[in-house]
Symmetry: none
Subunit: 192 residues, 4 copies
DNA sequence: AATGAATGAGGCTTCATTCAT
DNA sequence: TATGAATGAAGCCTCATTCAT
């Protein structure tokens, strides 16, 4: 099995799998379909991945790692708590759009992961959410957001994640508007 | 096949299916498992439902019909736009908790429906969302919410729906707090 | 799955499997071939047996149970130690010929059993061998066979078992001759 | 492919294959496992052997050639018919113990050989058995063994071959005792 | 001699569904 | 309504073998 987990080729295969899992669902996507779309034979798939499940893991992991990276970069350039919150929301939307397939898969196919894989990804998710926790905490310290045991943070993240259900980048709504409205809601502001 | 779609027995079976589909996923739950949990043989299942897929449809439909009913009742007793918005959010949370299984299934297994079934359920969903649209419109007319092409409504509904991912009724958070915070965010209020 | 382990139908299937496993080997015999020879579809096989391995177990177990039964019956009618020894050898040869398939499979495919199955069959085998141990012990007490820690017993049983490799019932050698010669060798006699 | 069939390297590989085939069975041992134990990659294996099956052939052939060699040497030093019979039994046991892997494989995996390979090995086996035939014949001429169309020879060889099933060199029984008892049984003697 | 990715046929097993009882 | 044996298509995965490097 090809152990080079970050090879260009592998990343391509993961992207293709992400698309298929997103479109058809993990259980419904057959190994043969995966292979066909990748331009290889079904047997060859198992040189790259131990399991069908390992492909699922790779898809979700790649989405999460990317999300983390983008969030970190976005925060580097932001200063005030509010700016940082805004940057984070923007970054979140960016990955959601850029790696939509992977994130949709993460949401829908979480259950199909093995316990071990899931445990590993839970760590990643916790790491990501702790970034949000931190930024929200800064906002609280600055008196911008009430201390509500993370309630607003959870609602906001939920609202963001749910956007994959309805948001289409080719619609009239710009991502910036989305992020702005989200921040407004979090901070208890109304544009009126 | 039992044509009496609302028979007590059938509703029991649907509830059992909802639980299994929610816990294990639609694709992963076998007809045999369904039958076993229902206390019958797998062959007998097909006297109650034409298809495995029809069971899925019944599960989701029942959740949606229930949601609609609860929403309508809640609105009957509410007067001002804000009260009505609050009542709606509360009602939404209620079904989400009461019929959690069915709603989780609706979210996760939407894809496994046949086109025909999906079309029918889309109608139901649209009917439900139009209730929200209406109430939000009333709030806009009252100057409580900005006119943003449904953006806030969508974010709010997303935030609510996402609660099935993390909200546990046995935790410290009461559903009322959730509904209140949600309304606050929608209306651009901060408890600070 | 059909739980009636002694049904006529099941015994037929086991006999067919025995023949195939004997002729082609367990690993080499495919489930599809098994099913085809049984006149059913490959999927139907799994109503009767949980596993391919369970078929192997059933084949070997049936051979062993039969061997035990025949040995017990033969001993009922024999009196003196030597008669009993002779009856036992004769009985052993009988099963070896009657259930040749099953016994060949037992010898060759022992390794393919699961640990659990093997443990169960080891008990059966031990029970069978203890019959031999007993009869040989009677012969020792009667001064017919030396006490050699079971060495002659083992050599004799080995010689018998090996007959499946070369003995053909349609040859010039009668089973009785075989049994007689075996007993002669065990008792240290020569026809000269 | 390496045409030097007797190269040191090749003999090593054959010995490793013998061990694996003996422990896991021919069908169950994968080419990858073979290669791994040999310290090479699976592709490289095919530079040494045309086929997986050719490895099996090499294993069995080597065991047989060795057996023949040891038998011939043993007979060189023996004089009387009985001495020669004893030497032969002793030699047989020696190879059975020395090359246990190869002989076990010969017994169990005979079926997996191609017809061509099998035919070649049948010649070797016949050559070996004719040595036994000869020595037994000498014993017959000397009045030590009855003329029974090879029945005692076959039983004796079977008893010997079967020893691989139960004999362990680290047990209380010495190979010499085994050989002696075997000869006694063949010649119709009892130590009593 | 060696590598190791790729092949592609084929293996075991599962599963929704049917149908005679 | 209920049963449960049978179906047969399809799923995931393995494995001996090849071939360009």
């Amino acid at each position: 099995m090809n152990k080079n987990k970050n090879s260009k080729r592998r990343q391509e295969l993961v992207a293709i799998a992400a698309r298929l899992f997103c479109d058809q669902g993990y259980e419904t996507t057959t190994v043969r379909t995966l292979a066909a779309e990748m331009g290889i034979q079904s047997g060859s798939l198992f040189h790259h991945f131990k399991d069908k499940q390992e492909i699922l893991f790779a898809v979700i992991e790649s989405g999460m790692l990317h999300a983390m990276e983008i969030a970190r970069q976005a925060l580097c350039e932001a200063q005030t708590p509010e700016e940082r919150l805004h940057a984070l929301a923007q970054a979140h939307l960016s990955t959601l759009l850029q790696d939509r397939d992977a994130h949709v898969v993460a949401i829908y196919e979480w259950r199909s992961l093995t316990d071990l894989s899931r445990a590993h990804l839970v760590e990643l998710r916790d790491a990501y959410e702790s970034i949000w926790r931190e930024v929200i905490y800064e906002c609280q310290q600055a008196g911008l957001v009430p201390d509500d045991q993370g309630l607003r943070r959870r609602l906001a993240l939920g609202a963001l994640n749910w956007t994959v259900q309805w948001y289409r980048p080719d619609g009239p709504l710009r991502p910036e508007d989305l992020a702005q409205t989200l921040v407004d809601m979090l901070l208890g502001r109304s544009p009126l």
